[in-house]
Symmetry: C2
Subunit: 282 residues, 2 copies
DNA sequence: TCTTGACTCTCAAGTGGCTTGAGGGTTTAT
DNA sequence: ATAAACCCTCAAGCCACTTGAGAGTCAAGA
């Protein structure tokens, strides 16, 4: 019969923690003084506490540990819990590894450039989107603006139902670039409007669904003339962090619908490249 | 100027989270309606939010992110933060890897034995301890009891000051085993008492400090005759989890001071093996 | 026996980064 | 005009504790 302070030293667990374990019913003292409330423990409780600590070391919650100690479960169930935990840790391991790489990339970048980059690349899931688009080979990237008129004309009869009055729901504009290698001329691109519902195709205008994807995304704030820097930043990021581009990238025009004046500094454009984790480390 | 719900969809961040970021001052709406309290955001806030998400992805706290966004820091400081974070993640990576191995070991064990093992091995740090001990070559492990009399006799004149009346503070008894390979006979062991203060040596009794160490520990509850099982369990664990034994192991007698009757089932003994992580994976 | 200091108790609040829910007001589409 | 969808604030919950206030208890030394 030993007091909580000594027990605490013996088992290397803080006094408040022992009191907490008492409170949640994980480890009750063998005796509690009726008058003073003093808790008294016994060394015979060591195995139980050891088990608690061991399971905690495996990452189980106190609630789960309580269930294990309650003895109500079969080896079968125990195996299930361990397998689940195994999957969780494996997952976590991957995440931590990725995070480590990301931090390393940022560090190298800051050593080279002596400042925090203007572009922050993040991963995001995007949902499938129905779009109306016209795809063509263009003389250069800036020429994409000319396609929007054609798309809009084809949509016109259905504007109300297909675009709606809210941004986000429909009417958002973007350009898709299909070239898998960088080109300055003869570029393969499409101008697109996001739709709320399917409408009939017309001429070169096609309606199709952009697939859901994991996107490496960044935001370009400023003139369309300098958007190349944003593309570059995102490409560097994907390579350095071990991702692979698996489809056409998107330029989504958020502030002003289409780039009419190429040098308007108030444009805000989100860039998205669909990516997958590459299997070989680099 | 867009409402919180639309902004939420645009940036893939939940509405309550955006409100929370407003509350803690990370991202204030460009405008708040004075009468209704409605928050209005602008796409020009996207870059800032992107940066928040990027830094969060690197594992920084919102407070740290706030500091970064406040612009008050030099690239130098940023480097410092990243390096610190790098160290933390590396540390975490090691921990997660170890945890994964531990869970795998447990799983294999449960597949073999169809039940949760009786012994739970945990790692613990122990502090340096001053002990009085007599070391000798013994005919077998059970013979260790005979050394305790000799130690106690040598301590006797200083019992009050050196042992004290409290367990934990002094007076604890243990046996140390020095053989690096398993032996049944001619074993090299020592019986020891933990001391509160240094006392003069006498005869074969020496006073020295057991070093601090990381211990793989388990608890044996029952007759001393069956303690071999606990040793076995701990040895299996250290090997399976990639540790190396780096010194003599200790048997600490917790319930009854010394093993007088070898078959007393109420004995509680803590076993500790000092270990280090081995460098090669297995 | 008394004091002193180390120990113990309970109860409440704080940690981070949100989520969930109650209860009520506002806007928009039909 | 009405209903649905949206927005607001405020409070509590999550996890596994830690910290602190204020008060009572115990054991050793004077």
């Amino acid at each position: 019969m030993i007091k909580i302070g000594e027990f605490s030293k013996l088992v290397q667990v803080s006094v408040p923690t022992l009191r907490y374990y008492d409170q949640v019913g994980l480890l009750k003292p063998v005796e509690v003084d009726r008058f003073t409330g003093y808790r008294y423990y016994s060394v015979s409780q060591l195995p139980r506490l050891h088990r608690i600590l061991a399971l905690k070391g495996l990452g189980f919650s106190l609630e789960q540990i309580g269930a294990v100690l309650a003895e109500g479960l079969t080896p079968e169930q125990m195996r299930g819990m361990l397998r689940l935990r195994h999957a969780q840790i494996s997952q976590q391991l991957v995440e931590v590894q990725n995070q480590l790489v990301e931090v390393e990339v940022r560090l190298q970048q800051i050593e080279r450039e002596e400042q925090l980059s203007t572009y922050d690349v993040i991963l995001k899931q995007v949902e499938p989107q129905l779009v109306a688009s016209v795809r063509a080979i263009l003389p250069n990237h800036s020429a994409s603006g000319s396609l929007f008129g054609e798309v809009y004309e084809a949509i016109e009869p259905h504007v109300a139902e297909a675009l709606g009055s809210h941004p986000g729901e429909g009417g958002q504009t973007m350009v898709l670039w299909y070239d898998t290698e960088f080109k300055e001329t003869e570029v393969d691109g499409a101008a697109a409007f996001v739709l709320r519902c399917r409408i009939p195709e017309r001429g070169r205008m096609h309606v199709h669904e952009l697939p859901a994807a994991t996107m490496a995304a960044t935001v370009h704030h400023g003139s369309y003339n300098t958007i190349g820097e944003a593309h570059e930043a995102i490409l560097k990021w994907t390579e350095a962090n071990g991702y692979r581009i698996v489809g056409p990238d998107r330029e989504i025009y958020l502030y002003n619908a289409t780039p009419i004046r190429l040098d308007d500094p108030s444009y805000i454009t989100e860039l998205q490249y669909p990516v997958e984790k590459a299997f070989n480390g680099k």
